[in-house]
């Protein structure tokens, strides 16, 4: 295996393009190293992106959003007060990935590119309307996070393409987001169901909402019907009931070692309600 430490993303994609065999980009490494250890993937070329300037930075964009470097670890997100104030749901999703130790390494982009439908950080990013910058030999383009996953373990990235940054929109007024997942233990598990809600209030009434579900479909999904169920409401009992129904209707889970389809379907409604309440409370708090 060859180990590369390019100084720019352009160099990184050039190296990737020149490599004939199995190539992996290395950021936090918490998935790549596990796959190497298991013998599942032993890359011929491993391209470490952490030597590229800026990849560890979290910066405010001129519009008031955020640009997050691809090697920012979960623990660094959690330590960034202003980001946590704006997008607590995005941060808490990332912070649920693995242990404290894994938090010292794991990254948003790595979690996204691993392609797991159960990735904890992805529903929050999707609900927030986050985008990523995809860099290839022919330049860069902005792609919504929601469009990156293509199926379990797969993304739409082409060989040689790499994500070079992740961007969150401006939080704006009276907004709140949240992520919760269901796991059998209290920590250290893969989500059996994950749900993120991002909403905005006009007074007590929800004026905008996005609902994303994880681990109940081949990719993280955006559930418009679930958002519609709570938009225009004050998140009263009827709205919550409609939200749960919409979430369950959208879920098309499989049964596997971590849970049955029936369980996942039911719990997606439970999680949606709990997350919506949390996001609503945060949005109310944000208004004060």
């Amino acid at each position: 295996m060859h180990y590369h430490t390019p100084a720019t993303f352009e160099d990184a994609v050039k190296i990737a393009a020149a490599c004939g065999g199995v190539t992996r980009f290395l950021a936090g490494g918490t998935d790549v190293l596990v796959q190497m250890r298991a013998g599942a993937v032993i890359p011929d070329d491993l391209i470490d992106l952490k030597h590229i300037p800026g990849v560890r930075d979290i910066t405010r964009t001129p519009e008031g959003g955020w640009r997050i470097g691809i090697a920012v670890a979960g623990a660094e997100l959690g330590a960034h007060d202003a980001l946590c104030r704006d997008w607590p749901g995005v941060v808490e999703g990332m912070e649920l990935v693995g242990s404290t130790q894994v938090q010292g390494r794991a990254t948003l982009v790595g979690n996204l590119c691993n392609g797991s439908p159960a990735a904890d950080s992805v529903p929050g990013l999707v609900a927030a309307g986050a985008t990523v910058t995809v860099t290839g030999v022919n330049g860069s383009r902005e792609v919504p996070v929601a469009e990156i996953p293509a199926g379990p373990g797969r993304t739409v990235l082409q060989p040689g393409e790499v994500i070079s940054a992740i961007s969150l929109p401006p939080r704006g007024e009276n907004g709140g987001d949240a992520y919760l997942r269901f796991i059998p233990r209290t920590e250290m598990d893969i989500a059996v169901v994950g749900c993120a809600v991002n909403l905005r209030l006009d007074g007590d009434t929800i004026s905008e909402a996005r609902v994303a579900l994880g681990a109940v479909a081949p990719t993280v999904i955006t559930v418009q019907a679930a958002a519609d169920a709570i938009i225009g409401t004050t998140l009263d009992d009827a709205a919550l009931e409609a939200l749960a129904d919409a979430a369950r209707a959208a879920a098309t889970p499989i049964s596997d070692k971590r849970g049955t389809a029936e369980f996942r379907t039911h719990v997606s409604g439970v999680m949606a309600q709990r997350v919506a309440r949390l996001a609503y409370t945060r949005a109310k708090g944000a208004g004060k």
């Binding site: 013998g39 269901f182 059998p184 233990r185 209290t186 920590e187 250290m188 849970g259 719990v267 439970v270």
Partner: protein, 749 residues
């Protein structure tokens, strides 16, 4: 015995000194299995079957052997033939013969100059398989038309005409069962299921083995018992036992799983083939889970009769257990434990040891007892609910006591079950009011404890300090408790005693640290050896004083004339006697070789409060209490540690731990990510009460404490979940999926 009355005031016993291995273990200096390197050492890797059941048609290692730095490849063809019985089982499990019997079964091994190279070489070994039908579940495996895994492997106990995978059959009991059930007001019969779990020690198996062409070998290995490793490796490889010298490393947990060989013989076989260079083999976690001892899975029918005032009149247990592709599921001890808590006029037990395409089961903490406790203690709780009776009072009413004829036959000596039940009744946890969706569960458990072959040697050093050589690896602090008992007996400070776990060349055979035997058996042996040394020191003093040795007694670490008639001499301290030993007759030592008698059984009672999330089925442990009879706690902190550790393993078994197999017979959760042992945030404090009903068979009253604690959590939590939800879960683990389904079904799960 020096102190066979139990009102003695002790100086050391019952205190909490720091453990002698503590400094090494908090600084990273302690050397475990994988921490050893030897000059000229090679690294090994093992090729394992990806199939649950497959004929091995061809193994081609030519590509691996062509790699520079690859020094040896071994397959079953490199092992001796003609083994029988358990020796053959161990050999077959170490390395598959004609047929791979489970996912993870070793089929070849390779040694090379680096770990990575060995792994790369292993990946290049090509194995051609012919798939055979497999069976995983015990209730499938016992069917008459199940794929026969090893025809002809049933032993003498199995009557003609039994299904092909039944390899042992047990039935026994006493009393008039029909009359017992007829005398009952309520008879209930239910079926309970438990899944296979793994010991889950954090240190994977690791060893460095060296074997020369002259048949002499050495091994460094993490194990609960290095004499067992020596005997088993010798049997598997056809070596002379005494030519193999085995040293036990520090051990990173075992819980029964490190009492037999897995890949250890492979390191020796590779070493021999590589010209005698030492070969290090270290399992990864997936190998540990796929190929080392899980426990059995069980399917159990239990029937109990009870009068309306709670007297148990009869009990019947029919247990089916699979212990992998080899005989050895702990169905007999499970049956023995089933009704051991109770004084019942009639009991009957029937057991089936069944083969399935899974790894060979190893012992796991009180083998069989947790499954039995789950079935019986759940049913007792169901009947208490049905009859509106208090579960602790019913247990007290039926509790086994001194003089009770045990369900497994003999009559109990002094035991402490009643005392544990009284202890939980008196504990504040038992009185905490519960809120919505919360429930409290109670259950008791039992383990025999064990003695086993034991050899100990102790010697006095020139300055009067003492060394004790033992053969039971220290897993939970036994070096501390042994030093305390020796120090107490010798009348010297704890710090003056050093306990060493020595290699196989230094003592007669020792059984492993298993069966909760280290503090009992090695402890008793060490005390007897110490008394020998004391007798010798008294003799030396007598010679010096020119009086009869019988006129000398040993008090507070010194020889003293035994009364005014013996003569007037100032006490001769141990240091003084030791300082002149070279001129008074040479070394002063004591030793013990034997099978220490006087084992005392241990009962425990646990109380757990849970809260169940009615929307997700998630169970949270709110409070947990262990009360167990320790006989006497030598080092109370380590006794508490055994109680707490056992309870938490039981909690894992009850809630989340299980082997999950796919339709293809492959283990799906061979990682700590998906084999879900309890983590710190899952748990509350584990409260403990050390009950002390001293064991008359031990000089300090010790009963083994290591194992009993894993049994009660399974039923206690099931009983608590039933109390919280109104639903009875009879299939472990009680995952959120199962609990939610039971809640939703709204009827008996």
């Amino acid at each position: 015995m020096a102190k066979d009355e139990f009102n003695t005031e002790f100086k050391l016993v019952g205190t909490r000194p720091n453990r002698p291995d503590g400094l090494d273990k908090v600084t990273g200096r302690a050397r475990y299995g994988a921490d050893m390197t030897m000059p000229g050492m090679l690294w090994g890797a093992v090729v394992r079957s990806p199939h649950a059941h497959a004929r091995i048609k061809k193994i081609d290692a030519s590509k691996a052997l062509a790699l520079e730095g690859v020094k040896a490849v071994v397959t079953r063809a490199d092992f001796p033939t003609g083994l029988t019985g358990e020796d053959w089982n161990l050999q077959e499990n170490s390395m598959a013969g004609d047929v791979a019997l489970y996912d993870g079964h070793a089929v070849a091994a390779v040694a090379a100059t680096s770990a990575l190279l060995a792994q790369d070489a292993a990946a290049l070994i090509e194995v051609e398989y012919e798939l055979l039908p497999h069976v995983i579940d015990v209730d499938d495996a016992i069917k008459p038309d199940a794929p026969a895994i090893r025809p002809g492997s049933a032993d003498h106990s199995v009557p003609e005409g039994f299904p092909p995978n039944v390899v042992r059959y047990i039935d026994y009991g006493h009393g008039d069962l029909d009359a017992g059930f007829a005398a009952a007001d309520l008879v209930m019969e239910k079926t309970y299921l438990t899944e296979a779990t793994h010991q889950g020690y954090i240190e994977p198996q690791a060893c460095v083995g060296q074997l020369g062409a002259d048949g002499k070998g050495e091994m460094w290995v993490c194990t609960q018992g290095h004499w067992f490793i020596r005997q088993m490796c010798s049997a598997v490889l056809g070596l002379e036992v005494a030519q193999l010298r085995v040293t036990a490393s520090e051990i990173g947990g075992g819980f029964g799983g490190k009492t037999m060989v897995f890949m250890e013989p492979l390191s020796l076989a590779l070493s021999k083939k590589a010209g005698g260079r030492p070969v290090k083999l270290v399992m990864n976690r997936a190998e540990v889970l796929r190929a080392t001892g899980p426990t059995a899975s069980a399917s159990m029918d239990v029937k109990i009769g009870m009068t309306k005032d709670g007297k148990m009149t009869a009990g019947k247990a029919v247990f089916r257990m699979q212990g992998g592709a080899f005989p050895g599921a702990p169905v007999d001890s499970a049956l023995d434990c089933a009704f051991a808590n109770y004084d019942m006029p009639a009991v009957y037990h029937e057991g089936f040891d069944v083969l399935a395409n899974r790894p060979k089961a190893a012992a796991y903490r009180a083998p069989g007892s947790p499954m039995a406790a789950f079935a019986v203690e759940s049913l007792v709780d169901e009947m208490c609910r049905e009859l509106g009776l208090d579960p602790v009072e019913v247990r007290l009413k039926n509790a086994a006591r001194e003089g009770t004829k045990a369900s497994y036959g003999p009559t109990y000596n002094k035991i402490g079950l009643v005392e544990t039940l009284e202890a939980v009744k008196a504990h504040p946890n038992y009185a905490v009011p519960l809120g919505p969706n919360q429930g409290r569960g109670v259950a008791s458990g039992f383990w025999f404890n064990y003695n086993g072959d034991t050899a100990v040697s102790m010697a006095i050093a020139e300055d009067g300090t003492a060394q004790v050589s033992v053969g039971t690896p220290d897993i939970g602090g036994s070096r501390a408790s042994l030093a305390m008992m020796v120090g107490e007996t010798l009348g010297v400070p704890y710090e003056h005693v050093r306990v060493n776990v020595v290699e196989t060349g230094a003592l007669g055979i020792n059984e492993p640290t298993h069966g909760s035997r280290a503090t009992f058996a090695t402890g008793k042996a060490a005390v007897i050896a110490t008394e020998q040394a004391i007798a010798e020191m008294c003799r030396r003093a007598a010679v010096e004083w020119d009086i009869d040795p019988d006129a000398v007694e040993w008090i507070d670490g010194a020889a003293q004339p035994a009364g005014p008639n013996a003569g007037k001499f100032p006490p001769m301290k141990i240091g003084e006697i030791a300082g002149k030993m070279s001129t008074t007759g040479g070394p002063i030592a004591g030793h013990y070789e034997g099978f220490p008698d006087g084992v005392g059984v241990s009962f425990g009672t646990h109380v757990v409060d849970v809260e169940v999330d009615p929307e997700t089925g998630h169970t949270k442990i709110l409070r947990y209490l262990v009360a167990q009879d320790a006989g006497r706690a030598i080092h109370p902190a380590y006794v508490e540690g055994q109680f707490q550790g056992g309870a938490v393993q039981g909690i894992g078994w009850a809630l989340n731990e299980e082997y999950v197999y796919g339709e293809d017979g492959r283990l799906q959760n061979a990682t700590f990510l998906d084999y879900r042992v309890p983590v710190a945030s899952d748990l509350p404090k584990i409260d403990t009460v050390i009950v002390e009903v001293p064991n008359p068979g031990h000089p300090y009253g010790v009963r083994g404490v290591g194992e009993t604690g894993i049994a009660p959590p399974l039923p206690a939590i099931a009983n608590a979940v039933a109390a919280a939800t109104g639903q009875r879960l009879r299939h472990l683990p009680m995952t959120p999926v199962k609990v939610l389904a039971a809640i939703q079904a709204g009827q008996d799960g």
